[in-house]
Symmetry: C2
Subunit: 208 residues, 2 copies
């Protein structure tokens, strides 16, 4: 039909992410993205509503990158499958944060209302349920755990800790996992602790 497109939304977001990574968030301007794509700034507006939309797109990209290769919920993968999954998710978040330190701060400053963000939340959601967290606490704990994991990843990616040996960061992840594991303990139902598939059932109504 029409003129062939030379750029698309994902190319724009990728270029924007690159710019933020190299020059920091303040260097991320429409002009910069456009020139990197060898295109006029106004061309971006065919694929992106405005700059806020572009920033949201970057958040989306990062969230998707965190969830990439995340193993599907494995109900009968062992007693502590949820713990392993949580540790791995935290590790992926840290990896993404250290790959995109500057852009990662956007995750914390913008409302997480995009689909990929919802996916992350649902992921944690599932892990908590698998861990036997009571239904009325899942939502609250999900918020706590998510902000803790993402916040820690962001902190680790900041310059102060960048010079640490990789082992130290691994230790951080392990400590975080221990913290979260112990933290949700009071919210777990005693029976049906790890039980697969039936977790979200009405069995637990104990408190509140």
């Amino acid at each position: 039909m029409p003129r062939p497109k030379t750029i698309d939304r994902t190319a724009i977001l990728q270029a924007a992410l690159d710019i933020a990574d190299t020059g920091g968030v303040p260097a991320l301007s429409m002009q910069a993205v456009a020139t990197r794509l060898a295109v006029t700034p106004m061309a971006l507006y065919r694929h992106v509503a405005n700059k806020a939309d572009l920033l949201d797109g970057i958040v989306e990209l990062l969230m998707a990158e965190i969830m990439a290769d995340a193993p599907a919920p494995d109900p009968d993968g062992g007693r502590d499958a949820w713990l392993d999954a949580l540790i791995r998710t935290a590790g992926r978040a840290r990896a993404v944060a250290s790959r995109h330190p500057a852009a990662f701060t956007l995750l914390l400053s913008r409302p997480a209302a995009t689909t990929a963000a919802r996916e992350v939340r649902a992921h944690i959601h599932g892990l908590l349920r698998q861990a036997g967290v009571g239904g009325e606490h899942v939502e609250r704990l999900e918020r706590i755990v998510t902000t803790t994991v993402l916040g820690m990843a962001a902190g680790q990616a900041s310059d102060r800790f960048a010079h640490h040996a990789p082992g130290v960061l691994d230790e951080d992840v392990r400590a975080l996992a221990r913290f979260v594991t112990a933290g949700i303990e009071p919210f777990r139902s005693s029976e049906e602790r790890v039980s697969p598939a039936g977790v979200s059932r009405a069995g637990r109504r104990a408190s509140r």
Copy 2:
């Protein structure tokens, strides 16, 4: 000596905070601050290095507001004085966040290197030590706890949860305290253990 000053740094920061509160962070421009103070934009630069410095100043203000009226570390104020202090700190953070929802996001996006921020960190630091957390874990846990508390406060202040009943938010603070209390449990040294009420599994009785 010289001409009498009509504005000073704190007046600027206060005006900036007001603007961010009413119009959101994007509305916070040097011009806006200047006109609110009935002054030329360039007058601000006598008291503030640049806009980044102004934003850092706002963070400073918020941090100071969180720490305002914080009780001094009370070593022999009871077994679980640290828990009370932690809960109160979280409550103050939430209060500040709900008073300045827009500006509060700056806390998470900017590096917390100012003196007031350090004060908050030192505060949490002290609480953890008082709780008997081993010295090699204090720093790490402080980061975890601080980001969790501040992140939760920011989340509660975001629009999504603003329509909740106040009781729900109080419940959130209590859940957060339970989470953190249980979370640091594995890091506490056994002898100085303070054993606050309801830390482990027994704590799951009806909250409130």
